[in-house]
């Protein structure tokens, strides 16, 4: 051991190495943390998840503190609220392609009561060169989804959601359609069933569409939302200018909204409404959907019924093995095998 250490120390001068590293890093990144952090408010992140401070960052950090806050009051006018959510998973792989499963949940409520829900799926999709060649997917997009599993899952999710949104926006009149996520055209949507087509349908049938995002990658919105935390009841703030300045292709107007009381969650919402009256739209939403913990119950239920459970995944695997004459090969998690795991 001593021999080894002497050998290493004869090759590398540790002090010199430390100085070189310090000089190199300081060119692009500051390592003098102490002075920079002193007196700052802080929240710790875990598992790469986005977290927000419960009581906001405080007025000091809010450059939009002068923006108008609009309180929302429930409007008891009978309106159907439909919420749509979906999830997709990669189930299996073959030499040529990948097998995905998708589930979609649709929940409807009126006068604060959910009255019907529809579970769609699980439905299996097999994406391979052969299956994509026969589809209408653009060949560049086809290459991407064959190369990237995340993109493939997103494509399946977007396609099924848009199909459902098209049906609902055609079928209902003067209703509210809730969508999980922002109202942004996607690279993966079909040109005949795009979010724009859905928005057009909504306009034709006087439906409103709200895309609700639980978190946003725009840090500025977190700062702005501090003012809303101070308001005791439901309220919204117009952030259309901020969003439009950051991204160009969103549909409708953007707001940050708090549906619950006190410290309930502050959400970003993209709105498409025929009369552009946000106060009236949010009022009708509050009057027709229940808002436990400041999140629409319909969307929460749609999320729950669209997520895959472990049992379903096991059943899907069983179904594939028993129905499609496939042979399961022994497999291993290469990362786990190589890195191992230290249980503590």
């Amino acid at each position: 051991m001593t021999t080894q250490y002497s050998f290493v120390s004869s090759c590398i001068n540790v002090d010199e190495f430390d100085q070189m590293l310090h000089r190199s890093l300081n060119r692009c990144l500051s390592t003098s943390i102490h002075d920079m952090l002193k007196g700052k408010k802080i929240i710790f992140n875990m598992d790469e998840r986005t977290k927000i401070p419960i009581n906001g960052w405080g007025m000091k950090s809010n450059p939009y503190c002068a923006t108008t806050i609009n309180p929302i009051k429930p409007i008891l006018e009978n309106t159907t609220v439909s919420a749509i959510d979906s999830s997709s998973i990669q189930v299996a792989e073959t030499e040529e392609g990948t097998l995905y499963a998708v589930k979609c949940g649709i929940v409807m409520s009126s006068r604060g009561q959910t009255f019907i829900h529809l579970r769609i799926g699980p439905i299996l999709f097999y994406l391979s060169k052969e299956t994509i060649r026969d589809s209408e997917i653009d060949h560049r997009l086809a290459k991407l989804i064959l190369f990237d599993n995340e993109c493939a899952k997103r494509l399946i999710r977007v396609r099924i959601e848009r199909a459902v949104q098209m049906i609902i926006s055609n079928h209902f009149k003067r209703s509210i359609i809730l969508i999980d996520g922002s109202l942004k055209p996607s690279l993966f949507e079909d040109k005949d069933q795009s979010i724009k087509n859905v928005a057009e349908n909504c306009a034709l049938n006087r439906n409103s569409m709200i895309g609700i995002s639980k978190s946003t990658k725009f840090k500025i919105l977190d700062k702005i939302s501090s003012s809303l935390t101070k308001i005791p009841g439901p309220a919204y703030m117009d952030v259309n200018l901020v969003i439009k300045s950051l991204i160009r292709n969103t549909i409708g107007d953007s707001v940050i909204v708090k549906f619950g009381n006190g410290n309930s969650a502050i959400l970003r919402a993209d709105i498409v409404t025929s009369d552009r009256n946000k106060y009236f739209l949010f009022g009708k939403l509050l009057g027709n959907d229940s808002m436990a913990d400041g999140y629409p119950e319909t969307l929460r239920l749609a999320h729950h019924i669209s997520t895959f459970t472990n049992t379903e995944v096991s059943c899907l695997k069983g179904h594939i093995l028993s129905s499609y004459e496939v042979t399961e090969l022994a497999s291993e998690d290469i990362r786990r095998t190589l890195l191992g795991s230290l249980l503590i």
């Binding site: 959910t114 579970r119 699980p122 439905i123 239920l301 472990n310 049992t311 059943c315 899907l316 179904h319």
Partner: protein, 485 residues
């Protein structure tokens, strides 16, 4: 059904809803690779549960409760999911193994393959053939298993054995004991029953009011009515035992009693009247006289004694001689005081021992209901050790398993365990019985009425759940009720 895991001497099996088996059923695990077989018995049944499965169920229930559900499930995965939710785990105790030459073996140290093992339900007839369980005098006590197979125990297994029939009130104990008594008598056995509820008299009659097949062999004995002894027949030791143990006569008084007895015997005037006169006129301490007089009055009022000259006394040897084909002597003790009960038991047991010792009578089967109420503590040991050697083969029937001492349980050959829900009772049984704690606790708690778990020699030490057959015996001894509904 598939083997899932092993824990100690038990296997855990995964079963789907279509795999029909219940607690107490035997399974045969055939390891097709090693050609070995293992016999296991299901003792508990549970849902196959994982945290995620429970979460799924709860989530689904919440969703379905909140609104009407519509499904579009083209692959019918929901059906598979429901099958998984209904999957069950059978916990089974390893009871025996069968070697390559199809012989029963106690080598259960090997582990059957999870992949190549086939699990199938074992019929009781197949189990019997593996065990080589046969007999000459079958007692068809009921049915067993899902297929309602007839189940017999053999009268030979009761010969020279100590048995306990236990279970909570109205679980079917007396029903089984009546069935056993009837069959034993049919096979020519002599049975004495200490009947606490005056219910065994029904053995003479069928439920439709007709005579039972053993009516002529059933004798109802009550104090003053068939159950009368002469002092001479009981003998000095029998009477002194009764005075000492049942009537708590002090030693000093007992010595004076012996003098009186010897004097009367010499004068050949050993009858009840002479005994009374002698006690009153004997030259003794007044306290001793008082003690003897009070005991004498109890003896007199018990209606248990008669004079030999009247020729109405009970003589066991006469009954046995007159009923060569067997007899059931039912001692009705339902309407008598506890002191008289104790006197009866003391007199009968000491006389039986005396007769058996002298080889005057053949061995006797004794059925004692709630014996703790009339058998003194020191007698228990006598019954299970000494009397057994003389030829008194006892069956205790009780709903208080804790009233029987551990010593008796350790000597017991067969236990017929009916339903118990009380943990304390099950604790007692599981500590001392011939079977493991888990099987007793799990099976006994869920036994329906008239179902029992037979444990011991009668079932070749492989416990069996039996549904006791209905009999035609007339039911007596029902509780007198105020409300006639």
């Amino acid at each position: 059904m598939k083997i899932l895991s092993k824990n100690g001497n038990e296997l855990i099996m995964l079963a789907m809803k279509t795999d029909i088996a219940t607690k107490g059923d035997y399974l045969l695990i055939v390891d097709e690779k090693s050609n070995k077989k293992m016999i296991v018995q299901i003792y508990d049944e549970d849902y196959f549960s994982s945290q995620s499965l429970i979460e799924d169920i709860v989530k689904d229930e919440v969703v379905v409760a909140s609104s009407t559900e519509n499904l579009h499930d083209p692959l019918n995965i929901g059906k598979l999911s429901r099958i998984i939710r209904d999957a069950r785990l059978f916990r089974a105790k390893i009871r025996a193994a069968i070697d390559i030459s199809d012989r029963l073996s106690s080598d259960i140290s090997w582990l059957p393959s999870r992949v190549f093992s086939k699990v199938e339900r074992l019929r009781i007839s197949e189990l019997n053939s593996f065990l080589g369980r046969t007999g000459i005098l079958p007692i068809p006590i009921g049915k067993t298993g899902k297929d309602n197979e007839d189940f017999d125990i053999y009268a030979e297994e009761f010969d020279g054995k100590l048995n306990i029939i236990t279970g909570k009130k109205e679980s079917g104990k007396s029903h089984l004991s009546k069935m056993l008594i009837k069959t034993l008598v049919q096979y020519g056995a002599f049975v004495i029953v200490f009947d606490l509820n005056n219910e065994y008299g029904g053995l003479a009659w069928n439920s439709d009011g007709s005579r039972s097949s053993i009516q002529d062999q059933v004798m109802i004995l009550e104090p003053g009515n068939g159950l009368k002894f002469s002092l001479e027949y009981c003998g000095k030791s029998g009477i002194s035992n009764m005075l000492k143990n049942s009537l708590d006569l002090p030693a000093a008084s007992l010595r004076e009693f012996f003098r009186i007895w010897d004097s009367l015997k010499n004068k050949k005037t050993l009858d009840l009247e002479s005994l009374g006169n002698a006690i009153n006129t004997w030259n003794i301490n007044e306290l001793v006289r008082d003690a003897l007089i009070s005991r004498y009055h109890v003896i007199q009022t018990s209606r248990l004694f008669t004079d030999a000259s009247k020729r109405d006394e009970l003589r066991f040897e006469s009954i046995i001689t007159e009923n060569r084909k067997g007899a059931a002597m039912i001692v009705n003790m339902g309407k008598i005081t506890s002191v008289v009960r104790k006197m009866i038991v003391e007199l009968i047991l000491s006389k039986l021992v005396d007769l058996l010792e002298k080889n005057i009578i053949p061995p006797i089967f004794l059925f004692a209901e709630e014996a703790q109420l009339y058998i003194r503590e020191t007698y228990w040991e006598d019954i299970i050790t000494r009397m057994r050697h003389f030829g008194i083969y006892t069956t205790f029937i009780t709903n208080q398993p804790d009233a029987i001492s551990d010593g008796i349980y350790r000597q017991v050959d067969n236990i017929f365990l009916f339903n118990f829900t009380n943990d304390a009772d099950l604790d007692k049984l599981s500590k001392v019985s011939l079977l493991d704690n888990e099987t007793i606790r799990s099976i006994a708690k869920t036994l329906p009425q008239r179902h029992c778990l037979a444990i011991g020699k009668a079932v070749s030490d492989l416990p069996v759940v039996v549904k006791i057959a209905t009999t035609e015996i007339l039911t007596l001894g029902e509780t007198k009720k105020f409300f006639k509904i």
